[in-house]
């Protein structure tokens, strides 16, 4: 297949922007060929998921670019790393992963990437605009950018995310094209559990189901609670991209490319319709927990993906009352930490015995001190991955369930 290269692409390949950019463009040409793209487009921004240490090759790749004096060509944010560079003492894992991980994070900074170290770059100043062509990695960030913002990215990952950042170019295929963004599967929520006031668990249950049942097809969801907020849609996308390969969903009336069902489907008919009842949602949420009611807890973890400032405002009133008797961890990023410090909440949280984890996340690295009992979370993504990734039993509940359980020292569902 003939790849139609622009003059700039050819200049990149010829090394006129330096050897680091030429190296990245060579890889991008192979990648474009493998995905069947015919040309490249300019991107406005990139998000790189290369800061988790997966072996020597992770470091060799980035340090090769640093050695050739490479610089990213577009604003580029960084995903979580293996360590919290603000609180390095929190890391209790293998020394090689700690030092290799820190080196990897620094090497990305040397390329001119911003030290965001967050899986929620959409909560930072670098949030893309509607319609922006971007090259993002990290499954939850990809689905959020496409679905909630209406920016356009494919599921970029290993090496290619950074190649796009270093060249400012991405292959034109998949979700960069409007016609490939239309919904394929209609998901109708017929009834909601009356006892759930919080939209969070509804969104997690729906997200988990669409991941399992839609794979990489694009769903359009009808019937989510009207008061579902951005953080609820964040949770929905994050779990859908864990249990499946969802890169884009439409929520009719809530997300920008789906003002109506017809708009979401671009006038075409659904290939499949999935109907969900309150009982389906209850069952899905129940199955996320690997332990029953009353199980002793040794920790509670919030912020997978990273806790937003808005989520902290929902948490603060729940801190009043008895002090929790198990460890509570909240994963968030530097931008939110600054906001917390500005209103003095960081001190309130620390005084309540809460550990703020910055730059990384409790489900990908060794941070939690005591995992001898179950861990409770309000995150569907954490519940999905933690048993396999870090070998813990998991209880899933709402924010309020988690706080009540932290005080009781055991799993309590309100």
């Amino acid at each position: 297949m003939a790849l139609d290269l622009s003059d700039f692409d050819k200049a990149l390949l010829a090394g006129m922007q330096g050897e680091a950019a030429a190296f990245c463009m060579r890889l991008l040409v192979r990648f474009a060929d493998a995905v069947g793209a015919e040309r490249f487009i300019d991107i406005e921004a990139a998000h790189i998921d290369g800061c988790l240490y997966l072996g020597q090759v992770s470091l060799d790749f980035v340090e090769h670019l640093v050695r050739h004096k490479g610089r990213v060509r577009v604003p580029t944010t960084l995903n979580v790393g293996s360590v919290d560079l603000i609180h390095p003492e929190l890391f209790i894992g293998e020394a090689q992963i700690g030092t290799g991980g820190a080196r990897l994070m620094r090497a990305h900074e040397d390329l001119g990437c911003f030290s965001t170290f967050t899986c929620a770059p959409y909560q930072t100043l670098f949030r893309p605009r509607f319609g922006a062509q971007i090259a993002w990695a990290e499954s939850n960030a990809i689905v959020f950018a496409n679905s909630v913002i209406g920016a356009r990215t494919n599921r970029y990952g290993d090496f290619i995310d950074l190649c796009c950042a270093m060249t400012g170019r991405a292959p034109l295929y998949g979700l960069h094209l409007a016609e490939n963004r239309r919904a394929q599967v209609l998901v109708e929520i017929e009834s909601l559990p009356e006892e759930w006031q919080d939209a969070g668990p509804v969104c997690v249950a729906v997200g988990h189901t669409i991941g399992k049942r839609c794979g990489s097809l694009i769903p359009a969801i009808v019937g989510l609670p009207g008061h579902a907020q951005e953080d609820d849609l964040k949770a929905l996308g994050a779990v859908a991209a864990s249990s499946g390969a969802v890169a884009l969903f439409h929520a009719v009336g809530l997300t920008p490319e789906a003002p109506t069902v017809e708009a979401a489907f671009q006038g075409q008919a659904p290939v499949e319709t999935i109907r969900l009842t309150a009982d389906d949602l209850r069952r899905t949420v129940r199955d996320l927990s690997t332990v029953p009611d009353g199980t002793p807890l040794t920790g509670v973890s919030f912020g997978t993906p990273h806790f937003s400032f808005q989520e902290f405002t929902r948490l603060m009133p729940l801190l009043e009352g008895a002090r929790p008797i198990v460890d509570i961890y909240i994963n968030t990023h530097r931008g939110v930490l600054d906001q917390l410090a500005a209103c003095g909440w960081d001190r309130v949280l620390t005084a309540a015995g809460i550990t703020l984890v910055i730059d990384t996340c409790t489900y990908v690295t060794a941070i939690m001190r005591d995992m001898s009992g179950a861990i409770m979370t309000n995150s569907g993504k954490m519940a999905y991955y933690a048993p396999g990734n870090i070998g813990v039993e998991i209880a899933f509940g709402s924010l309020a369930d988690c706080m009540a359980s932290a005080r009781a020292g055991k799993v309590v569902w309100l």
Partner: protein, 144 residues
Amino acid sequence: MSGDAKKHIATLLAPGFAEASPFVLAEPLSFWGGLDSATGRIIDRWHPQKDAIITGRILLMTAGRGSSSGSSVLAEAIRLGKGPAGIVLLSRDAIVTVGAMVAAELYGIACPVVMAREEDWAEISSASRLTLQASGDAAFILLP
């Protein structure tokens, strides 16, 4: 090359030369979580060829599968000398191609990746030995 060799045209995805016995994957394999880069062993407990070693073989796979972190795992296996000698696909796969290209660029170890034609698959996958020639714009799969 012997006069008896049969030559099939293929699509070049990553360049290189390899000659080895084929290893036909019975099901797609996610390298991430499915291949141990330090030993070249299949570790996916659900895969029918679990515990088989793919090191030094020409890996035949109808399709790729799984997380993009598979590129890192493949590149790391090639770096350690535990990767396959070459890979023959039946459909384009970006994860496999990128992993092989990164290893070639960083370590100078070529693991050619080519895409075979559907009508050639049965013959290629039952051969005792395969040679992959992939350079320039052209790729060939040679049978003894």
